[in-house]
């Protein structure tokens, strides 16, 4: 009962915040609703026993990445977006098309088997770390190079050019 209630609460919060992200005109409101989506997703990860992923979700996504977003919005002094003609066309045709795709996906996915109960499969830091540093050691080291390149790219791109 506990699991079902928690799932329904956080799934509803998640979808409501995602729709709010679409409905808001000002980017800072969209960013704040994205933080709500990420927080409730972290709780859903906890329900699925993914403790380490839930903690990383809060720290990396809701912490680091969203701070970067909010910082950029404030730095660029972003105002409300104005709708153009093409975006109205996209709303008229795109939203029903996406709704049809979701209905088809939900029909296919809902036939899948398996149920989730609280606490019968735990992905803690110990198990993840063992897997990450043994089976996935090479990809892990490659991501460190990727992050280094991303840092240099961000510095080069955001630097003001002297003329």
């Amino acid at each position: 009962m506990m699991h079902t209630v928690l799932f329904i609460i956080f799934a509803v919060v998640c979808v409501a915040a995602a729709i709010n992200l679409l409905a808001q005109r000002h980017p800072i409101n969209s960013a704040l609703s994205l933080i709500v989506v990420m927080g409730s997703l972290a709780l859903l990860y906890l329900l699925l026993g993914a403790e380490f992923v839930a903690a990383v979700q809060i720290i990396i996504y809701a912490g680091a990445i969203m701070v970067l977003f909010v910082f950029t919005i404030m730095l660029l002094n972003a105002g409300e977006e104005e709708l153009s003609k093409s975006s109205r066309v996209a709303i008229v045709f795109g939203v029903p098309a996406v709704a049809v795709i979701v209905a088809a996906l939900a029909y296919i996915l809902s036939r899948g088997a398996g149920t989730a109960a609280l606490g019968d499969f735990i992905g803690g830091p110990k198990e993840i770390g063992r897997l990450l540093f043994r089976d996935f050691l090479l990809p892990f080291e490659v991501t460190s190079v990727l992050i280094l390149i991303a840092i240099m790219g961000a510095v080069v791109l955001a630097r003001r050019e002297e003329r």
Partner: protein
């Protein structure tokens, strides 16, 4: 049986979130909000990774989520730097007004 939740509910929720991300990517005109829609899509995929990791009792899916997060962080850093440099040269954040490769 009320103590359990079908895995398919998680997958359907993931599909709904992904569709919200796609819709935002299509209908939004602010470049930062479009970027946030991409992050929403990545999060939706992460949820289905975790759900499948649970279904097969394999931790590989959760390690994949970790790698997706790393790529998302790198993408956010580079993408926001690109947005800042676009704003410097064009003084706008609307994607409709950024339609020339060269100024």
């Amino acid at each position: 049986m009320m103590n359990t939740v079908p895995i398919s509910w998680y997958l359907v929720l993931s599909a709904v979130l992904f569709a919200c991300g796609v819709t935002g990517f299509i209908i939004k005109r602010n470049i930062i909000t479009i970027f946030m829609s991409i992050e929403l899509m990545l999060n939706a995929v992460n949820l289905s990774f975790v759900a499948f990791a649970y279904q097969w009792k394999q931790l590989n899916g959760e390690v994949f989520v970790f790698f997706v997060m790393v790529v998302a962080a790198a993408e956010a850093a580079v993408g926001l730097a690109i947005i800042i440099s676009v704003f410097r040269t064009r003084e706008t954040l609307s994607v409709d007004k950024v339609d020339l490769l060269k100024l």
